[in-house]
């Protein structure tokens, strides 16, 4: 039974322990308490996907996710994807293909795409569309985002090939 106030979980591959109220939602924990503002609050109702993070390898809407659910889980946010010096291939591909305009949906798009590529390294258009259907973008349209995911998949495959060499 855990009613306690100290919540422990793995955040971006590092262990964290933080005091959390019973009603706290994961999105607020990340943004307000832990200062990780890469994860965005869009609709706050599970419609737009701007708050998408990955919990134990699955994309979830952080705005609908009670913080206590992540106890002993592994959470990945956009801050854990890459750094300014060392972008993740998905981040590179989004920049290179012009899949970013205002950028508000981008962290969520990246996380949904990341979850997809972990499971399906070589997705077809339909698989990408299904994985991103819960992420709304109001600027670019989705063509360039789709392109970016495909480009990232290619980059990731290439770097694997290079590693093997």
């Amino acid at each position: 039974m855990s009613k306690g106030k100290e919540l422990s979980f793995t955040l971006n591959n590092k262990p964290v322990t933080v005091e959390v109220e019973p009603h706290t939602i994961l999105l607020d924990l990340l943004r307000e308490k832990l200062g990780l503002t890469g994860t965005k609050r869009g609709c706050g109702e599970g419609e737009c996907g701007a708050c998408t993070v990955i919990v134990n390898n699955e994309a979830v809407n952080a705005c609908l996710y009670p913080a206590w659910k992540v106890e002993n889980c592994s959470v990945l946010t956009v801050e854990g994807l890459g750094s300014e010096e060392n972008l993740h291939p998905l981040q590179e591909a989004f920049l290179e293909t012009g899949a970013v305009q205002c950028g508000f949906c981008t962290p969520g798009m990246l996380m949904s795409s990341y979850a997809l590529l972990q499971k399906t390294p070589d997705p077809d258009d339909d698989e990408i569309k299904t994985a991103l259907a819960g992420n709304l973008c109001r600027c670019t349209g989705y063509v360039k985002i789709l392109e970016a995911v495909k480009k990232a998949a290619y980059k990731m495959k290439q770097s694997e090939v290079n590693e093997e060499k």
Binding site: G46, E58, N61, K69
Partner: protein, 296 residues
Amino acid sequence: MLEAYYKPASLEEALSILDDFAGRARVIAGGTDLVLQLMHKEVAADVLVDISGLRQLRKIREENGRIVIGALSTHTDLSESSLLQEKAPLLSAAAGSVGSLQIRNVGTVGGNIVNAQPAADTAVALLALDATAKVVSLSGEKQVLLEELYSPLGGSNLNPCREILTEISFAPLSKSKAGGAFVRLARRKAVALPVLNVAVVIHSEEAKGALTDARIVMGPVALTPFRARKAEQVLRGSFPGEESFCRAAGLAADEARPRDSRFRGSAAYRKELARVMVLRALTIAQSNLDGQGVNR
């Protein structure tokens, strides 16, 4: 404001916490509906009992000739299950049409039932499959027909402060003796509530023979998922085909009581839609029964 968030390690512990708080605590599973209902103050709770750690309630198996689904199985689990894709494809199709991937990864089949929305895709398909639910409380466990969990006035008969839905089971659709279909119309192809959904299952003992049973369920055309009983009745003993299917579809549309909705369209439009979609679903179910269909 919540006083406590419990994560019990066993079903017994969950039930005893619910009992301790005597109505002030309620069960949360995925929470994709409940969290919003709590935020919007449509549901009140002082304490949440999160049962999502009870691993034994997340399974999809064939046991003693029935398909058994743990209540904590997610919509993603259902839509990706090869067992369901083979033996109840309408259910995996229905589960795959719920919300977005982020919602399907978290929302559970038990929640889809207990939340008792009249158009809940997964529950509509389960009702067409004539599923049974296992409900446990401190007074013991009971098996009830899934449709008995729905109150005629809308909402669930299950008491979320005392009872836990643990399992759903149904007979698999046996090859060349049963066929099912799930069809859905929404304003967008994804992340949209259905304007109308229809699930049907038909049974026949011999190829091209008379139908021995039929179940037609649709939503949202009433306060709960709606069974078109007159249409089902007319199909029993009838030979499958355009004539009987058209007649059944007409009856189903007559029986349906959709409301005028600014979001979903007028009642008249959706009655006509019910006719078209029931006909479509029956036709697909028949081709699945014959083994020719795309099986969805």
